[in-house]
């Protein structure tokens, strides 16, 4: 099923050891907020996060997180809390901490707003392993911004399952930046459970070398007048492969809901493989689902135009790709991270 396309059927998990480094960073935490690290011994229970219909990487991956997690954050934000600064979570895989099995639980109270940035990286050529799960409950009128950056090296493996459960007038904004790993599977499922709940997902990905990418984004509309918007921009080069699954699922009760799904991918080399599987499922008539996609090489005339201004073909291609990614990167609220991402993209494109 899920992994057939990138051929990952017989997959074994590595042995998990404790994650030792500090990984949460925040300033001026409002005092009512509870933030704890999750580990073997601290295992909070999860309420109000019932999966209506399972999607994502597969039970195998989430069961493993529930059973064997070695890190993660538990964040409980009461009503009416505003943060001055984002919370930053950084996981770095190296000889000390070879794997990250993070189990993150985030509960955001009524009218509250928070931004959390998750950053996954590896040290030098260390072969890292990440398999994580992030679950979010966004209560009435709350706004939750989750930014996930995956920039692990080309010998590492990455699996990431994300789920959000959104109550009435709540909103979750996902941002996903996928730049590294040998194999990377990431899944974002949003359950728009109540009236006027909302979600936006903006993602960028870069496939280079022999990377295999599996991206799955689902918006499951249950609430009346719920809104969703998926927008993804990618570039594939060398011999990279990508499967994109975008699901807009309108369940009974999701009257007058609207979902939009857009996927744009630039293919820089002839040996890349790009599969796109957008799906629209409707149990209700009175809904609106839109889908737009394009995949192809950079327009010849655009390339020529830039070259007439002195840019080499490679520089011109790089400029167009970086321009596609720019609006998403500019939205990341930490300058240092923006710079790291920009230079990582530039490095990978220059090596092409």
């Amino acid at each position: 099923m899920l992994w057939n396309r990138i051929k990952l059927d017989d997959f074994d998990f590595p042995e998990v050891v404790d994650y030792k480094k500090e990984y949460v960073e925040f300033n001026n935490l409002p005092k009512e907020v509870i933030i704890e690290k999750i580990n073997k011994d601290n295992n909070p229970t999860v309420d109000n996060m019932d999966v209506i219909e399972y999607r994502g990487l597969g039970r195998k991956f989430t069961d493993f997180v529930e059973k064997s997690h070695n890190c993660g954050i538990y964040l409980n934000i009461p009503k009416y809390v505003k943060f001055d600064e984002p919370i930053k979570v950084n996981f770095r895989m190296d000889n000390e901490d070879s794997s990250v099995i993070d189990n993150n639980i985030i509960i955001v109270g009524e009218e509250s707003e928070v931004t959390i940035v998750f950053d996954y990286e590896t040290q030098n050529e260390f072969r890292g392993f990440h398999n994580g799960m992030t679950r979010i409950l966004a209560k009435e009128n709350s706004i939750v911004n989750i930014i996930k950056i995956q920039r692990m090296n080309d010998v590492s493996q990455n699996f990431d399952t994300n789920m959000a459960f959104v109550k009435s007038n709540g909103k979750i904004n996902w941002t996903s930046v996928e730049l590294g790993s040998n194999i990377s599977g990431s899944s974002y499922t949003t359950y728009l459970n109540e009236e006027a709940s909302e979600s936006e997902l903006n993602s960028i990905y870069l496939g280079d070398g022999a990377r295999k990418l599996d991206l799955e984004y689902s918006m499951i509309h249950k609430g009346i007048r719920s809104m969703s918007n998926i927008r993804t921009h990618g570039v594939l080069m060398d011999e990279s492969k990508k499967v994109f699954r975008g699901n807009l699922d309108f369940k009974t009760g999701a009257k007058r809901s609207k979902g939009i799904e857009e996927e744009y991918v630039i293919l820089l080399d002839p040996n890349v493989k790009s599969d796109s599987l957008p799906a629209l499922m409707c149990d209700e008539d009175d809904v609106q689902g839109e889908h737009a996609a394009s995949a192809g090489q950079i327009d010849k005339n655009k390339l020529f135009y830039l070259m007439t201004r002195g840019l080499s073909e490679r520089e011109a291609k790089k400029l167009i790709v970086e321009a596609q990614f720019k609006p998403i990167i500019d939205n990341i609220p930490i300058e240092n991270l923006r710079n790291i991402i920009n230079s990582e993209i530039s490095r990978r494109l220059t090596n092409a």
Binding site: Y305, L306, R309, G310, A316, A323
Partner: protein, 254 residues
């Protein structure tokens, strides 16, 4: 006698196997202004693209010599670095890249010298003022959502910043109102000096009144059929292309 800048000899160009230019001969000296006029479908834009090195325009015979070097096989970026500039009839929109960032990158590529942010900002501001362009254009995405006239002005802005030795203007006057034409012509006249030359390709002669051309050429069915001074342009203004077409038994490019 002025020094030769561009010399085109017996140039034949195909697009998708179809012969469009059927043997063009043209010499442009340093500091000269040349106008190429002709009806649509005669090969005017093809000549512009072939001079700039578009990969879809195949040179099947002849040579293009620029500053003494045959440039037939040079890619567009190398021609730009040698000092050729093309103002596009339909400039491309590049979302995500601002006019300022793009021009700074382009100037760096063309000159081979890194352009420092502050001095470049100043230079750009000056050039924009000359062209009657609002400062906000510098931070807008390149050509995105620009009107036809704004796009043309932006091409002339790029030309003034990059300071080419040969500026080819492909139908730059089309879609411009009288005021914009005057501003564009001023920009062109500012660029021109005794080393820099201009090649204007046009269907009408709106721009001609402001420029002072040394030569006017008529391009018909892939060949230059007549060369002279401003009087040719005036004649076409009065009688259109019909006289010339019948004179050269023009077959409509079929």
């Amino acid at each position: 006698m002025t020094k030769n800048l561009l010399s085109i000899k017996d140039l034949k160009v195909n697009i998708e196997e179809k012969e469009i230019l059927k043997g063009i001969n043209l010499e442009i000296g340093e500091g000269e202004v040349h106008i190429i006029m002709g009806p649509n479908g005669g090969g005017k834009s093809t000549l512009a693209y072939a001079l700039m090195g578009h990969p879809s325009y195949e040179i099947v015979q002849g040579e293009i010599k620029f500053k003494g070097e045959i440039i037939n096989d040079l890619s567009a970026d190398k021609r730009a670095k040698k000092g050729i500039f093309l103002s596009f009839q339909y400039p491309e929109e590049i979302p995500g890249v601002t006019v300022e960032e793009f021009l700074r990158t382009a100037k760096t590529s063309v000159t081979g010298e890194t352009q420092k942010i502050i001095p470049f900002k100043k230079l750009l501001k000056e050039k924009m003022e000359l062209l009657d362009m609002k400062e906000e254009y510098a931070s807008r995405y390149l050509n995105l959502g620009f009107s036809g006239g704004e796009k043309k002005k932006n091409e002339i802005l790029q030309m003034s910043v990059l300071e080419p030795s040969l500026a080819i203007l492909d139908e730059t006057d089309s879609g411009l109102d009288v005021d914009a034409i005057r501003v564009v012509a001023e920009g062109v006249n500012k660029l021109k000096n005794d080393k820099r030359s201009i090649l204007v390709i046009t269907h009408y002669n709106k721009l001609l009144n402001y420029l002072n051309p040394d030569y006017v050429h008529i391009l018909l069915d892939g060949r230059i059929v007549e060369t002279g001074g401003l009087e040719i342009a005036k004649e076409i203004d009065e009688t259109g292309y019909e006289n010339i077409k019948s004179q050269f038994s023009y077959d409509g490019g079929q």
